[in-house]
């Protein structure tokens, strides 16, 4: 279940070599221990989200390498990266990115495709996750009808459908009140207890000062702040 994440001299540029070139991540060396909750903090534009997209293999670095369990993954051919991403990471996006027009259950099942197990087995797994997060009665509701907390729990259930060892959440409490943020941290503690590595970005003290957090990594101008 546990995965060691290592970043070696990672840099990421946008508009490289063109006007407006921006180094969002500028030389980061970092090792994230498995089974821990790590929070990346820093002001807006500091490179936290870019860093998470690089770790989650949603983007490739401009320079440097990323390793998962010792295997260099940032240079893998795309077909392997897709498979690795599917098996290793679950994503909870800041705006949750639920697919409107689909039900809660369908949204949760979606990341399992196109390699999904038989439909009944997948559906049972999705229903178990929804029941676990208190969304059982809402499984057939359209996602646009959900409250903020329900949408977030749906997004978390969706992130867990492939049983990933690493869960990545980008500003997960940005749109939630304190009560829902606390409930989210309870879920994070549960994920850690299951042995999963949890990587969060947040500039919410409620999150990074929470007891469940093992490590805080401060980022500014694309670099780690010592």
């Amino acid at each position: 279940m546990s995965v060691v994440v290592e970043l070696i001299g990672v840099r990421k540029a946008f508009h490289e070599g063109r006007p407006g070139e921006l180094w969002a991540v500028d030389g980061i060396d970092l090792a994230v221990a498995p089974g821990q909750v790590t929070v990346f903090t820093g002001p807006s534009g500091s490179g936290k989200t870019t860093l998470l997209t690089l770790i989650g293999c949603l983007a490739r670095p401009t320079e440097g390498r990323i390793r998962l369990d010792g295997e260099e993954v940032s240079g893998l051919p795309e077909r392997f990266v897709t498979d690795l991403r599917r098996r290793t990471f679950g994503f909870v996006f800041q705006q949750f990115n639920l697919i409107r027009g689909l039900s809660v259950l369908e949204n949760v099942m979606l990341p399992a495709y196109p390699l999904a197990p038989h439909y009944p087995a997948l559906r049972r797994r999705a229903e178990r996750l929804l029941a676990h997060f208190g969304l059982g009665p809402r499984r057939d509701a359209q996602v646009e009808w959900l409250s903020g907390g329900e949408a977030q729990r749906t997004a978390i259930a969706r992130a867990l459908i492939n049983d990933p060892p690493v869960v990545i959440a980008d500003e997960p409490t940005a749109n939630l009140d304190s009560q829902l943020s606390t409930a989210f941290l309870d879920i994070v503690a549960e994920l850690r207890d299951q042995g999963r590595t949890v990587l969060l970005t947040s500039h919410d003290p409620l999150v990074y000062e929470a007891p469940v957090v093992d490590r805080i990594v401060a980022v500014r101008d694309g670099r780690l702040v010592s």
Binding site: G9, R11, R60, E63, G64, R65, E71, S74, G75, F80
Partner: protein, 332 residues
Amino acid sequence: MLFQPAIMALLLVDAITLALLLPAALFAIQLLRHWDRNSGHARQIRLERRTALVTTGVALLSGVQGLALLLLVFTADALSVQFVGAMCAVGSFNVNAWGFPALLLRMALFFFAAAWLVMHHLDRQARDYPLIRARHALLLVIAPVALLAVLAQLAWFLGLRSDVITSCCGSLFSPGGATVAAELAALSPLPAMVGFYLVLGATLLVGAYYWRRRRGLTLFALLGSAAFPVAIAAVIAFVSLYIYEHPHHHCPFCLLKAEYGYIGYGLYLPLFGASAIAFGLGLTRPFAHIGSLRQVMAAAVPRVVGIATALFLLFTLLVAWISWHSNLILLS
């Protein structure tokens, strides 16, 4: 003469081939100089990104080369009605000095492109690009061959004059001549048959042996590659005679005509496909010691060998069937 659909299509294929292949060859030089999988340098990352794009383009044009070869032969055959003295593709190719060089270079391009596809097929199944250097080195062979093939074909097209009296297969494949074609036509049927069935039989046996035991890949590649010239010699020496039911008509191109049920396509498609696969496996074999490739080859090559063996078997059975059903008696 240029403004014919088939010729326009071939010129378009050539333009696309050169437009993709020449930049790919320049990229290959960069890659061969700077590729270092262990480096996290920006240049290495750029190479990794661009190789995905270049590979996609080269795979596309390599796949098209088989169709281009087919279209070239079909076009030459179709054009034969426009030249005095031409009765099949041979007459068209003989209209000027560039016809047969264009055909032979197009065939060479097909085999190299197919070998590249075999390498690509194996390489893409490994996580660490084990054949990337070999694939890009091969591009440096393919690019000049492609350039020469395109230029020769263009020279042939530009030199097509309908007022030229050309010579056709009757003179080229006549046993009395001093050309390779004439010498092949002069081969006695019996030794040609013995040689053909020995080489093809050995290829099939080694292919089947590899399929069962996973041994003998090098021998299969060698035999499979050698099977191509042997098979072409056999077509000229005796298969064509059985098809035409005529003891002196050795042309390997008239087989492509409707009068003979387009039997040539049935013969050549499996032969070219199987030989190209064997050739590709032969070029890949020296790299089989690379760790990740060894695993990939163990999993993927039996299937590839199986396809090639099945195609060789189809070709051999077709030759045997033709020989059996012909009304011509070559061997008493």
